[in-house]
């Protein structure tokens, strides 16, 4: 009987010691919001092994997909705020509230690292009768409704870029929605759509091969991967006040996670983003490195949310007003 008591006490002791032990003392779970093979997945899976070495623990990655990433986000939010569940996400959650997709977003999380940003680019079929952004706008205005824009549904990158263009120069185009930028770019190469606002990384290879024509980099500066393609602000400086803008990837933990754990994760991921192999992979895919953490990362998220939410709301795409969620107009 006494032995049993000691045994129980010992077991209890073992069970409680982890709280005192140094983080991380067991495997960490990583939830990737998007499916295997996508950019969020690729970036998360190629960055994490470098962070694992620094943390000295394994990060078990799994894809929890569906609901524009909301299912994965909610699963990470339901876990304990102990730093043993990481969320690998993209920009989408910042639009959940205004798109009516859920009441949780990155406000319920602490950013560990905002890894990198994608650069939007306008691409067209190689035989499109225009080569530059002003020519494209002129052609669209001469042929209202004729030009088909590839899209990924309301709230996706193409819808935001199209809304930004519309805010400056109203254009009448037909947006054809696809399941993601991969299928939409495939449709563009197959002739089912004419123009696509895409992320540079996804469009880079077909542009290099001449299967697609780059119209403009939707950013304030040109990119080294495509030196001949002008930045949109070169031809249309009025876009400077909404740019730079782009989708991004980040690592998050639930709000309320102890500060020392956040600090440790922040440090590990900040170091991991400096890895040479990782940097060259990101460069090859056309991403611009950010590696933001702490207040800087929070500032980035807030600015991104204000700007994008209001752009979508003004374009009539958002279901709810950003004001309802305390998102101030930029």
């Amino acid at each position: 009987m006494q032995n049993l008591f000691y045994g129980a006490a010992l077991a209890l002791g073992l069970a409680t010691t982890p709280a005192l032990a140094e983080y991380p003392e067991r495997d960490i779970q990583g939830i990737i919001q998007w499916g295997a093979g996508g950019s969020t997945d690729t970036v998360s899976r190629s960055l994490t092994p470098h962070a694992e070495k620094i943390l000295g623990a394994s990060v078990i990655l799994q894809n929890v997909t569906g609901g524009v990433g909301a299912i994965g986000l909610n699963q990470a939010e339901r876990a304990d705020a102990d730093g043993y569940t990481l969320l690998f996400g993209a920009e989408n959650p910042l639009l959940y509230k205004i798109m009516g997709l859920g009441d949780k977003d990155y406000a319920d999380f602490v950013p560990i690292n905002i890894i990198a940003r994608g650069i939007p680019i306008l691409v067209a079929q190689p035989d499109a009768p225009f080569d530059t952004f002003p020519e494209m706008i002129a052609y669209i205005n001469e042929n209202p409704g004729e030009v088909r824009f590839g899209s990924t549904g309301p709230g996706g990158l193409p819808s935001v870029v199209t809304a930004m263009i519309n805010a400056k120069t109203p254009i009448d185009v037909t947006s054809v929605p696809y399941d993601g930028d991969g299928p939409a770019l495939t449709a563009l190469q197959g002739g089912a759509v004419d123009v696509m606002p895409a992320v540079l990384g996804a469009a880079l290879e077909p542009v290099r091969a001449g299967n697609l024509k780059a119209i403009a980099i939707f950013d304030t500066q040109a990119v080294e991967q495509l030196p001949d393609t002008p930045a949109i602000t070169d031809t249309n400086p009025e876009f400077a006040d909404v740019l730079p803008w782009g989708p991004f990837f980040g690592v998050f933990v639930k709000a309320g996670t102890p500060d020392d754990v956040v600090a440790k994760l922040t440090d590990a991921y900040a170091q991991a983003t400096q890895n040479a192999d990782f940097l060259s992979m990101m460069d090859g895919r056309g991403f611009r490195m950010l590696s933001l953490s702490g207040a800087e990362a929070q500032e980035f998220l807030d600015t991104w949310q204000r700007q994008t939410a209001w752009t979508l709301f003004d374009a009539g795409i958002a279901k709810n007003s950003p004001e309802d969620f305390g998102i101030a107009r930029p």
């Binding site: 609901g67 001449g210 299967n211």
Partner: protein, 507 residues
């Protein structure tokens, strides 16, 4: 010369050869267990092979892919639970064969025709990749819509005795497939405010429930009946038998390669279309379809393995994935510092020939591993049901949970298991439900996309169908399939056959 030396890479490097063999072997078992999918295995391997060189990493993934597509047929034949969606059609004739004590024969022929299908797919990849990828990306939304309509018409050949019940089951499947957030408009459909429904109902969970659990429940009726003794002779099919089915295998491999090469459609749809095709072209099967026809095994199994080579076609030529597995492999190439895209074939042709050669080796290993160990496998069916049924239940639950690490999928699986049990009891066919779920999104999204592309003008879309040669061919195929299924057509055929027969009797 370079081509040959690149083709030889995986053959002369013993470690690569070994990895392909290990991958193929593991793939057969991953594929055989319902819920453990090749897609899942390959995405786990991305993390696992992160620090490896690119060749060994790809060698392992290719082995798993090839073995996994084949492995799905094992459980389909032995237990009536397709290990993967692409093996659904295989269960329709494979399981009746197992019940007749011919499981060994079924697995034998499936292994050989999978090898043949896989090989033809690889040849298409090696010789016609640029041509086929041009053809495949030329598919417009209206063409995908017509393809989905062709697919829906397969309900006719999957219905068994009652077409009405088959149509009902197919419509139920389409309804199940429509649940969740619509990606085109970000609107919830049939979600009823439940967040877990927003991601839709996993069709693998539906499949495991309808086949695995409902089969288990149905077998409880005969729990004390001794299991059928399996004959273990005739496992390796004779050359005469293979030759007899070779013409059908060639046709269905072509279907498999083309459907596999289309972005967004894969081995599952290919296998079902091939099964339908087999029913159409086979005049006098020795055994009727659905009762253990060899043709019903040859068609889907050649097609789904040919779809593997097919799926690599747009991946290697354009960097566009042909299916979910090749999508992950593209991610793997990125991680290993390559840039898959149209330039890959020009800048790194070695990669293309390496993949062709690895696929060929995986295909050969699949044949070897597939034909050995059958004796042991068929013993599974001879286990007492009191042992076998709980094992199937456990496998089904593990499989359903593994899809997305979600208990919700387990509940769905169990719910559909009970539904499937009652549907079986009342003579409803279950395969059309899966067909409906698979095709629901393809049909719905592309139907709307086709109309949106024409500025919401239905007439303009129909004009598009009649002016594009590809769309017109698909449309005529749909018309032909419908027309040949009508009683008028059958009567006309019968009368014509009668005339020919009576003419023959004239002196």
């Amino acid at each position: 010369m370079d081509i040959i030396s690149n083709l030889l890479i995986p053959i002369v490097n013993l470690d690569l050869l070994l990895l392909i063999a290990v991958g193929t072997f593991a793939g057969i078992y991953v594929g055989a267990i319902p819920g453990l999918s090749v897609t899942m295995a390959v995405s786990i391997l991305i993390s696992f092979t992160f620090s490896w060189e690119v060749y060994p990493a790809l060698a392992l993934m290719i082995g798993i892919y090839m073995g996994g597509v084949y492995g799905g047929s094992r459980t389909a034949i032995l237990l009536n639970i397709p290990g993967a969606p692409s093996a659904i059609a295989t269960a329709l004739d494979g399981f009746p064969m197992a019940q007749q004590g011919r499981a060994g024969e079924a697995i034998g022929i499936v292994t050989v025709v999978s090898f043949i299908g896989g090989f033809l797919g690889i040849i298409a990849l090696a010789l016609f990749a640029p041509f086929l990828s041009d053809f495949a990306i030329g598919f417009q939304p209206r063409d995908f819509m017509l393809l989905a309509i062709m697919g829906i018409l397969l309900v006719g050949s999957l219905s068994g005795d009652s077409l009405v019940k088959g149509v009902f089951a197919g419509a139920l499947g389409i309804g199940i497939g429509a649940v969740g957030m619509d990606p085109l408009t970000v609107q919830d459909r049939f979600v009823f405010g439940i967040p877990d429904l927003r991601g839709g109902i996993s069709f693998v969970a539906v499949m495991i429930g309808l086949f695995g659990v409902s089969e288990t429940l149905a077998q409880l009726h005969s729990i004390h009946t001794p299991a059928v003794r399996q004959k273990i002779t005739n496992i390796v099919p004779s050359w005469a038998k293979v030759r007899k089915h070779l013409p059908l295998g060639l046709q269905t491999s072509t279907i498999g390669t083309v459907v596999g090469a289309l972005p967004g459609t894969g081995g599952d749809i290919a296998a079902l279309m091939a099964y339908d095709h087999a029913q159409r072209v086979t005049r006098n099967p020795e055994v009727p379809f659905g009762k253990g026809a060899i043709e019903g095994l040859v068609a889907p199994e050649t097609a789904n393995n040919a779809a593997v080579g097919g799926a690599f076609i747009p991946m290697m030529t354009l960097g566009i994935p042909g299916d979910a597995v090749t999508a992950i492999m593209i991610g793997a190439l990125f991680i290993h510092g390559l840039n898959p895209g149209p330039m890959l074939m020009i800048e790194q042709p070695d990669m293309f020939w390496f993949i062709v050669s690895s696929l060929t080796l995986a295909n050969i290993f699949m044949l070897i591993f597939g034909l050995t160990g059958i004796r042991l496998f068929v013993r599974i069916v001879e286990l007492p049901r009191t042992v076998l049924l709980p094992v199937i239940m456990v496998l089904s639950i593990v499989g359903a949970y593994a899809i997305n690490n979600s208990v919700t999928d387990v509940y769905w699986m169990l719910g559909f298991g009970v539904l499937g049990y009652f549907m079986r009891l009342y003579g409803y066919p279950l395969a059309p439900i899966i067909l409906g779920v698979i095709l629901s999104r393809l049909l719905d999204d592309n139907w709307r996309r086709a109309i949106i592309s024409e500025r919401d003008d239905f007439g303009a879309m129909m004009m598009g169908i009649f002016t594009s040669p590809l769309s017109l061919s698909l449309f005529l195929a749909v018309v032909l399939i419908v027309a040949t299924s009508t009683p008028w057509w059958k009567r006309w055929r019968a009368r014509k056959a009668g005339v020919v027969a009576s003419q023959g009797q004239k002196p």
